[in-house]
Symmetry: C2
Subunit: 359 residues, 2 copies
């Protein structure tokens, strides 16, 4: 487990808060786009189940544990173990989840599920800027005096992230990652191009709010607003995630918001070494100067097949995993202790899952 280039995120580790943004885009229901759920339709429930599980220790809206069709646990299992190990507070922000989470959370007033971007407009005109401003107010008031790790859960998110970056004029096709071991780049590009056609967006378009309303989703622009507000409040921010966080930075870049020295992107080694995506290249294109922090923990030695599958390219990132691993590393917690905490949580969850299966 280590940082690339020895870089350490400039956060005060004693006053961190983890903020998880959740949201849905019906783009995730396009067959082949997302494996973040047992079926394509079920991907719409995943963010809510992730958030409920992260806080309450079990999903509340449905009696299932969020797993892929192959039985690989959601990254929320890793993140929950890390949050408890690190003793970091957590707050969930709903930017437009399909299902309202049954846990205390912040619901942005303009939250809304994103439509399939291949079929027309993602959001009603004006939604993106409202989400941005609402999340910015949250960042400005909540992050004051604290530093922040931001995570996300939105199935289909790498597709809308790619669409946002492409439409803003960055080359993102073939460079975003995927939660599955095989990355459906061609499908993602087709969905994006259908979206441009059916929304009538003229690309490249430099206004990120127009882009998001047309071919985006509710989450990335909300995270961008939150980061803008947190930085205004004097905070340092770790974006914990993969190539999706590059879409957040692309939005902030086009808005001309100054982030240098205040924001880092922290991802997992599973994501960083994925040969089907290019987070380093994307990052230096969308926002040069933002450091990339890569942290890993070896799951190959795990007792559990579901966790070992992370090493085969399943999941890779999500629910802030990379950001929380970076904090664990910065606090000097050994990889073995992280693996142990994750296995303990996985064991408990597998028990919960078996129980649910019987019910």
């Amino acid at each position: 487990m280590g940082y690339s280039g020895g870089y350490k995120p400039p956060v005060n580790e004693d006053r961190l808060v983890f903020v998880l943004f959740i949201g849905s885009t019906k783009t995730s229901t396009i067959p082949g786009i997302s494996i973040a759920g047992p079926t394509a339709e079920a991907t719409l429930y995943t963010p809510t189940l992730d958030a409920e599980y992260l806080l309450a220790g079990k999903p509340l809206s449905l009696n299932i544990v969020p797993v892929s069709p192959e039985g690989v646990p959601t990254p929320a299992v890793v993140s929950r173990a890390l949050l408890r190990l690190l003793g970091i507070p957590v707050l969930v922000v709903d930017s437009g989840a399909f299902l309202e989470p049954r846990i205390p959370h912040v619901a942005l007033p303009s939250r809304r599920v994103g439509e399939r971007i291949d079929k027309g407009r993602a959001l009603p005109a004006g939604t993106a800027v409202r989400l941005f401003e609402e999340a910015r107010l949250l960042g400005r008031t909540l992050a004051r005096g604290l530093d922040v790790v931001v995570g996300e859960s939105i199935p289909g998110g790498t597709t809308t992230a790619m669409a946002i970056m492409e439409a803003l004029g960055f080359r993102a096709r073939g460079r975003v990652s995927s939660a599955g071991p095989s990355n459906p780049h061609d499908l993602k590009v087709r969905v994006y191009e259908d979206g441009v056609k059916s929304s009538g967006l003229k690309v490249p378009e430099r206004d990120p709010f127009r882009v998001v309303d047309a071919v985006g989703d509710p989450l990335h622009v909300s995270v961008a607003g939150f980061v803008a507000g947190a930085v205004e409040a004097g905070s340092h921010v770790i974006l914990g995630g993969g190539t999706q966080m590059c879409a957040v930075l692309a939005i902030l870049s086009r808005l001309g918001i100054e982030l240098e020295g205040r924001v880092a992107l922290a991802t997992t080694s599973w994501l960083a070494r994925d040969s089907s995506s290019d987070i380093e290249g994307l990052l230096s294109d969308v926002y040069p100067g933002i450091p990339l922090v890569v942290s890993g923990v070896d799951f190959d030695r795990s007792r559990f097949r579901g966790l070992r599958m992370y090493e085969e390219g399943y999941v890779k990132e999500g629910v802030g995993m990379g950001g929380l691993l970076a904090v664990a590393r910065a606090r000097g917690i050994p990889g073995d202790a992280v693996l142990e905490a994750v296995e303990e949580e996985y064991e408990r969850v597998a028990g919960v899952a078996a129980e649910a299966g019987k019910a």
Copy 2:
């Protein structure tokens, strides 16, 4: 400005978060109960306007500034000035406000406006325990690694607080405070006694959830749940408020939740020296061993009549004022600097009010 007995709240001042609970009880619309709004009906909007103003710098749902019929500013003006002066993050939690605030906030899933307690049951059976558990989960997850100052805004709250304490078997009649210079004790008692009759509650009743469902409101039990969760998470808590916070402690006391060394009640000198109420006596009855911290700042020297009226017994407490004054004092900020920050904010708000008056 000083502490009573030199007591210093045992919080880590560098990692504080201020959590404002808002809620409504239609009890506030009983003529003569509350002056926390321009009319009795308008008191239902006050918590939402307080929260919006606290975060956004102006009320968003209505184009007015929350003021009493006499033109005295809401305590939110003082709290907003203090939060900015201290650089403390803030989060609003809605336990059942009449109007949904148009700012990012946590809405407890079981939130609900309380009914007039004199007319029947305050909340549908089972609501109180759900609010408690939801807020407890929030406390357990959000307060982890942080210390907390909790504030409240609920017009009519001293009446329901009195009712909760009385029904739990504590003598509270004649001892709770009031936001106005004359305290309608007899009316409060009549409302409570009508409530006991019409709800069918047998008093004293030791189960706080039964009591709150019958003659309480959504806020106090939610604050109690949050405190319980925060303490479980290892946090220290400052309850910033007046005699209402004694109802929170009465609930926690009856639940047998151990708070000693972890929780302090911090109020203002305006409240502490109010001869129409008895916070010290109430506190030692409902939860012996919880320290009372009294902090003041002299508004007599203010340029503004509206602020000088605080010295005549208007307002006294609310929106966490006493808790935030305690933090200011603990950080060694002189009273003059506090007054200056409050006056600056008051001047800005008075400008906003004048503008709104013209519109």
